[in-house]
């Protein structure tokens, strides 16, 4: 009788153990691991400046020049009618489309009245500069041909600022 009782207890214990193992196995955790990298490259830059001289106009030594953010020209105009035309190239060498958000081209207000700046070509505000694309700004500076005597003020500067932002 005692043996039967022991066998029954063992059987019950075995059943409980199997139930415990079974319950522990009925759960599962699934993991999804994600990595993200912002790898966009912003690189809108000046890539060149070319000049076209007329008359006796000459570029001062060492100019025109440019860096990725600044183009510089310095021209000497000898006689009325002399002119120099500069083409500045802006290129999108990055991986993100850009757009021109603003452009300001400003000649010196109190500079020589005999020196005339003309914006021959400029990109439109909000125009897109796609990846790999270029914009050109063309500026012409002229010694006013109508001037009859050498002016007192003989220099005039010009500043152009182009602001690019990411295109939507």
């Amino acid at each position: 009788m005692k043996d039967k009782k022991n066998v029954l207890i063992c059987a019950l214990l075995l059943t409980i153990m199997v139930m415990a193992v079974g319950y522990a196995a009925f759960s599962q955790t699934l993991n999804i691991n994600g990595t993200a990298t912002i790898a966009g490259e912003w690189q809108v830059e000046i890539t060149g400046i070319d000049s076209e001289l007329e008359g006796a106009a000459t570029n001062k030594e060492g100019t025109p020049t440019f860096t990725s953010t600044t183009a510089t020209f310095d021209v000497e105009l000898v006689k009325p009618g002399d002119s120099a035309t500069y083409t500045i190239t802006v290129k999108n060498n990055g991986s993100i489309d850009a757009k021109l958000s603003s452009i300001t081209l400003t000649p010196q207000a109190d500079g020589s009245s005999a020196i005339l700046y003309e914006i021959v070509k400029q990109p439109a505000v909000d125009s897109v500069l796609a990846v790999g694309g270029t914009h050109e700004v063309v500026v012409k500076v002229t010694y006013d041909e109508n001037v009859e005597e050498v002016p007192e003020v003989t220099t005039k500067t010009f500043t152009g600022v182009l602001e690019y932002v990411q295109a939507n």
């Binding site: 009925f26 759960s27 599962q28 999804i32 691991n33 993200a36």
Partner: protein, 166 residues
């Protein structure tokens, strides 16, 4: 006469008692029950696939997403603002026990202002997954900024806990 009747009664009584004794003896015995129980339940909830579901902008996978039965991984690249990529993860109940999604969480917990923002879709806690059924879970990673930022990297884990359904 009296003695004869007494003997007969005694004999009858003895016979009766004897029969009762024999009957009682025959109405008890050892009964044995033999039984065998087998647990035939099979638990198998597993990841069976991961793929790109939707790409917005110039987002892309640096390497193809991969998976095992319990882990899926992706490595995405986001080029420009608002670019995003959504991955579809397929989970299947290959067992014969109904499961249910007991819990879901991102680790670490994302913030809506994160520049690299992870979001999920279709993780419904309590939803059942019957044997043989598949379910899709979606994870989206987005370049979430109004400004262009310098290179940035972020890692996250989405954890789905399945348990046996009641």
């Amino acid at each position: 006469m009296k003695n004869k009747n007494f003997i007969i009664v005694c004999a009858c009584l003895l016979v009766t008692i004897g029969l009762m004794a024999v009957g009682y003896t025959r109405l008890s015995g050892i009964v044995t029950v033999n039984s065998t129980a087998t647990i035939a339940g099979k638990w198998n909830v597993a990841i069976v696939g991961i793929e790109e579901e939707k790409i917005v902008g110039d987002a892309s996978s640096i390497t193809p997403p991969t998976f095992t039965s319990s882990n899926a991984s992706f490595n995405a690249k986001l080029g420009s603002r608002n670019s995003s990529i959504k991955y579809k993860v397929t989970v299947k109940n290959n067992g014969n026990i109904t499961a249910k999604l007991n819990a879901f969480q991102f680790l670490p917990q994302p913030n809506e202002n994160d520049v690299i923002l992870f979001t999920s879709e279709n993780a419904i806690v309590g939803e059942k997954l019957k044997p043989g059924e598949e379910k899709y879970f979606y994870i989206t990673v987005k370049y979430n900024s109004s400004e262009v930022v310098e290179s940035q990297n972020k890692q996250i884990s989405a954890v789905y806990e399945f348990v046996q359904s009641d």
